[in-house]
C-alpha cells in the first residue's frame, strides 16, 4: 500500500515540477507576497500631510505648531488662511488634516483659561483618521502638561505593550502570513489535482489501477501538503532572518501544528476538487472560498468587530485557529495547553472535510 501511494505521489510531484510555468507559480508567489505584505501592511501612520492654519501671533501658538510639525507622525504640507482654503486642501487630498489655532490661543493659555484648537480630519480613510486624532491628542496633552503650573496632571496612564513593545506591524503581519499563504497554496494544489484528472479523462484510468479510493485520496493530498509546508517555511525563514521577527515559542510544535493545519487545508481543497468537473470550476471554487476564509479569520481586522453571526460562521475557518497559534508561538510563547486548545478545531475541520472528499471519490468508483 505504501509503495502504491509513493508511486502516485511521485507522479503528482513530477506533474507539478516538470512544467516550468507551474513551478514558477508555486515558488514565486510566496516571495512576492512576503515583500508586499511586510512592507505595505502597516496600519500605523507617519508623515501625514498636515495643513497648519495658525491665526495666533503668540509664542504658545507657535510652540504648539512647532510640536506638530516636528512630530514623526505629521509633516507640514500647506498653510491655509481661511476656512475655504482649508476645505479645498482637504477635498483635493493635498492634506489629510488641518490644524486650526485660533486668534486667542496664546492669550487664553497665558491667562489660564481653557484654550482651544481644532483639528479637521479627512475621514475618507477611517482608520487613518482615528490614528491622526490619537497622535494629535497625545501632542496636545503633552503640551498641556508641560505648560501646567507644576507640570502635573491628576492621572497618568502607564501603558505597557506586551509581546510587541514597539507596536511593529510586521510582527503582526508576517506570522499571520505563514498561516494564510500556506493554506491558499495547499488548497489550490489539491483542488486542481482531482479536477485535472477529471477534465483530461485520466481519472478513469486512475480508478482502474490497483489503487484504492483511500490511497488515491492520500496520494492526491500529500503534494498539496508538501507545497503548503514549503511555502510556510519560506515565510518563516523570511520573517526570522530578514525581518527579524522574534520567535519565542517551540519551533517543533509549530511544525507539528502546520502539519495538522495543512491536512485541513488539503481536505478542503479535495472537497472542492471532488465537486468541480473542470480545473476552471475548481479554481473558481478556491477563489470564492479563499477570500472569505482570509477575511473571516481575523487576518485583516479583529474577529470581535464582526457581526456575531459572521464571527460564528468563522469558527469553521481553519485559518482563524492557526492564526492564534502562529501569532502566539512567534510573539508570546503561547503555553502548549493553549496551542492544543486551538488545534482540536483544526482536527475536526480536517476530518469532516476528508470524510466528504472520501465519499465523493467512493461514489466515483462505484
Amino acid at each position: 500500500m505504501l509503495r502504491r501511494i509513493l508511486a502516485l505521489l511521485a507522479k503528482e510531484l513530477a506533474g507539478l515540477w516538470k512544467d516550468r510555468k507551474t513551478r514558477f507559480v508555486i515558488l514565486i508567489p510566496p516571495l512576492v507576497q512576503v515583500v508586499l505584505f511586510a512592507y505595505a501592511a502597516t496600519y500605523d501612520v507617519k508623515d501625514v500631510a498636515l495643513g497648519i492654519w495658525n491665526e495666533d501671533a503668540g509664542a504658545q501658538g507657535a510652540e504648539l505648531v512647532r510640536r506638530f510639525a516636528g512630530s514623526p507622525a505629521f509633516q507640514a504640507a500647506a498653510a491655509p488662511q481661511s476656512p475655504a482654503q482649508a476645505a479645498t486642501a482637504i477635498d483635493a487630498k493635498q492634506v489629510a488634516a488641518v490644524l486650526h489655532v485660533g486668534q486667542n490661543f496664546s492669550a487664553d493659555v497665558l491667562a489660564g483659561r481653557h484654550a482651544q484648537v481644532q483639528l479637521l480630519i479627512d475621514a475618507r480613510r477611517s482608520n487613518t483618521a482615528l490614528m491622526v486624532q490619537g497622535y494629535a491628542t497625545a501632542i496636545v496633552a503633552a503640551y498641556a502638561a508641560d505648560i501646567s503650573p507644576n507640570h502635573l496632571v491628576p492621572v497618568a496612564v502607564l501603558t505597557r505593550d506586551w509581546f510587541n513593545p514597539n507596536l511593529e506591524s510586521q510582527w503582526f503581519i508576517l506570522p499571520g502570513l505563514v498561516s494564510v499563504l500556506s493554506m491558499m497554496m495547499a488548497m489550490l494544489v489539491s483542488a486542481l489535482s482531482l479536477a485535472r484528472e477529471r477534465e483530461l479523462g485520466t481519472f478513469e484510468q486512475l480508478l482502474v489501477t490497483p489503487l484504492r479510493p483511500v490511497e488515491i485520496l492520500v496520494g492526491k493530498a500529500l503534494p498539496g501538503m508538501i507545497v503548503g509546508w514549503i511555502d510556510a517555511n519560506i515565510v518563516i525563514a523570511a520573517a526570522l532572518l530578514w525581518f527579524r521577527v522574534p520567535f519565542l515559542g517551540d519551533m517543533a510544535l509549530l511544525q507539528g501544528m502546520l502539519t495538522v493545519y495543512m491536512l485541513a487545508g488539503v481536505a478542503i481543497g479535495l472537497v472542492i476538487s471532488s465537486i468541480a468537473r473542470t480545473q476552471q470550476q475548481a479554481m473558481l471554487g478556491v477563489f470564492v472560498i479563499a477570500s472569505p476564509m482570509v477575511v473571516l479569520s481575523g487576518y485583516a481586522a479583529p474577529v470581535e468587530n464582526m457581526p456575531a453571526i459572521v464571527a460564528f460562521i468563522g469558527q469553521a475557518d481553519p485559518i482563524r485557529w492557526m492564526l492564534i497559534i502562529t501569532r502566539g508561538l512567534f510573539l508570546q510563547d503561547l503555553p502548549t495547553s493553549l496551542v492544543l486548545a486551538n488545534a482540536w478545531p483544526l482536527v475536526v475541520i480536517g476530518s469532516v472535510a476528508f470524510g466528504v472528499a472520501w465519499l465523493a471519490v467512493r461514489r466515483a468508483v462505484s
Binding site: 510555468k21 508586499l36 482608520n127 505648560i147 502635573l152 486542481l192 481586522a301 470581535e304
Partner: protein, 374 residues
C-alpha cells in the same frame, strides 16, 4: 465580408459562449456578491466591545465612577477581575485585550495634588498592534471623560488646559464601512474583470479553439474588441450591482455624479479585461493564468491600492510602485465619489492614470498576440 458583418458574427458567438457556460455569469455576478458581503462585513475596524480586565486593589466610591465611565464607553467591555494573576492569564490567552490595574494608593494620591499624577497601569496584548493602539486610545479617552466629570465637582484639573476639538469630514461617525466598501468594490472589479478574460480565454488557448478563431478571416483587433466588448457589458453590470449593494446594503452615501462613476468604471474595466487577455495569451494554461491573475490583481488591489493601508505611510520605493497599480486610481476616485462628491482635483488626475493603464493593457495584448502567432 465586411467588418460590420464579421463583428456581428463574432459578438453573436461570444454571447452564445457566455450564455452556454455558467462560468462567466458566475464570475461577473456571483463572485462580486459573495466578495462584497464577506469583505464588507468581515473587514471592520470599528472596534466595539473590546474586553478589558479591570483589577482594582481598593474599590472605593470614587473609583467606581471610573468603572462606570469605562462601561459607558461603547467600545469597551470592562471585566472585573480579582487579582493581577488572573488578569495576566486572561491577557495571555487572548480572552481579554488588555488589563487596567489601579493600585490601592490610587485614590489617596489622586486626592492630594502634591502626589500627582496618580498612576493607572494599562497592559495591552500587542500581538495585534493596531487594535492595541486603538484600545489604548479608548481607555485614555474613558478615563479622561471620568476625570472631566470629577473635575467639575472636585476641581481636580489644574486651571487652564487645552481642548483639542476634532471634526471628521466626509465620514463624521468614522464608520469603517464607509471607508472600506469603495475599496472592496475596486478589488472586486479588478478580480472579476481580470478573471473573466484570463480564465475563459486561457481555456480557449488550452483547447486550441483560439487558433481556429485566428485562422478565420477576422483580424486580431476585431477578435480582441468583440471579446472585450461582450465582457465589458458583463463587467459594467457587475459594477452597477456592486454600487447598488454599497448604497442599499452597507448604507453608504453617494455624493458624486453617475457620469464620473461611469467614466472611471469603464476605463478601469478596459484595463482589467485587457490585463486578463494579456495574461491568458502569455500563459495559455488555466492553472498558470489563474495564479498570475491572482498575484497580479487581487493582492496589489488589496495591499497597494490604499484600500486598507495608507499609501503615504509606506516606504518611498513602495509608494512609487503603487503608481503602477491601477486599482489605486480607482480606490481614490470611488472614495471621493461616494463620500465627498465630484472633486475634480482628485477625480481628473486619477482618471488620467486609469486611461493610461487601459491603453497600456490593450496595446500590450495586441502586440503579444501578434507575436505569439509567428
Amino acid at each position: 465580408m465586411s467588418v460590420a458583418m464579421r463583428m456581428h458574427g463574432l459578438i453573436l458567438k461570444e454571447i452564445k459562449q457566455i450564455t452556454r457556460d455558467p462560468s462567466a455569469i458566475l464570475i461577473a455576478f456571483l463572485m462580486p456578491v459573495v466578495l462584497l458581503i464577506v469583505n464588507g462585513f468581515g473587514i471592520n475596524f470599528d472596534a466595539n466591545h473590546m474586553r478589558v480586565a479591570v483589577v482594582i486593589a481598593a474599590p472605593e466610591e470614587r473609583v467606581r465612577g471610573m468603572i462606570q465611565a469605562l462601561k459607558a464607553s461603547p467600545y469597551l467591555d470592562p471585566v472585573a477581575m480579582a487579582d493581577t494573576h488572573t488578569a495576566e492569564a486572561a491577557v495571555i490567552s487572548g480572552d481579554v485585550r488588555g488589563m487596567l490595574v489601579v493600585r490601592d494608593d490610587f485614590t489617596e494620591r489622586l486626592a492630594r495634588s502634591g502626589r500627582w499624577p496618580a498612576p493607572a497601569e494599562l497592559a495591552v496584548n500587542a500581538t495585534d498592534p493596531n487594535t492595541a493602539r486603538i484600545l489604548e486610545g479608548y481607555v485614555s479617552g474613558a478615563l479622561g471623560t471620568w476625570l472631566a466629570g470629577e473635575a467639575g465637582e472636585r476641581r481636580l484639573t489644574p486651571a487652564g488646559g487645552i481642548d483639542l476639538q476634532h471634526r471628521y469630514w466626509f465620514n463624521p461617525e468614522l464608520r469603517s464601512a464607509d471607508a472600506i466598501v469603495p475599496g472592496i468594490i475596486a478589488m472586486v472589479m479588478t478580480m472579476t474583470g481580470t478573471l473573466l478574460t484570463a480564465l475563459i480565454v486561457a481555456r480557449e488557448w488550452e483547447r486550441g479553439t483560439m487558433e481556429s478563431m485566428l485562422a478565420s478571416p477576422a483580424g486580431m483587433a476585431e477578435l480582441t474588441f468583440a471579446k472585450l466588448g461582450c465582457y465589458f457589458v458583463l463587467g459594467m453590470g457587475s459594477m452597477a450591482m456592486s454600487v447598488l449593494m454599497a448604497i442599499g446594503l452597507f448604507g453608504l452615501p453617494f455624493r458624486g455624479s453617475i457620469a464620473a462613476l461611469m467614466a472611471a468604471s469603464a476605463l478601469f474595466l478596459v484595463f482589467a479585461l485587457g490585463l486578463g487577455l494579456f495574461i491568458s495569451t502569455l500563459a495559455r494554461n488555466q492553472f498558470v493564468a489563474a495564479q498570475v491573475a491572482f498575484i497580479a490583481t487581487m493582492l496589489p488591489a488589496m495591499m497597494l491600492s490604499g484600500m486598507l493601508f495608507d499609501i503615504a505611510s509606506m516606504p518611498r520605493w513602495l509608494q512609487i510602485v503603487t503608481y503602477a497599480v491601477p486599482a489605486r486610481y480607482l480606490v481614490s476616485i470611488l472614495q471621493t465619489l461616494f463620500l465627498a462628491g465630484d472633486v475634480w482635483a482628485v477625480v481628473l488626475p486619477n482618471l488620467l492614470g486609469l486611461a493610461a493603464a487601459a491603453t497600456l493593457a490593450v496595446g500590450a495584448t495586441l502586440l503579444v498576440t501578434r507575436r505569439r502567432l509567428d
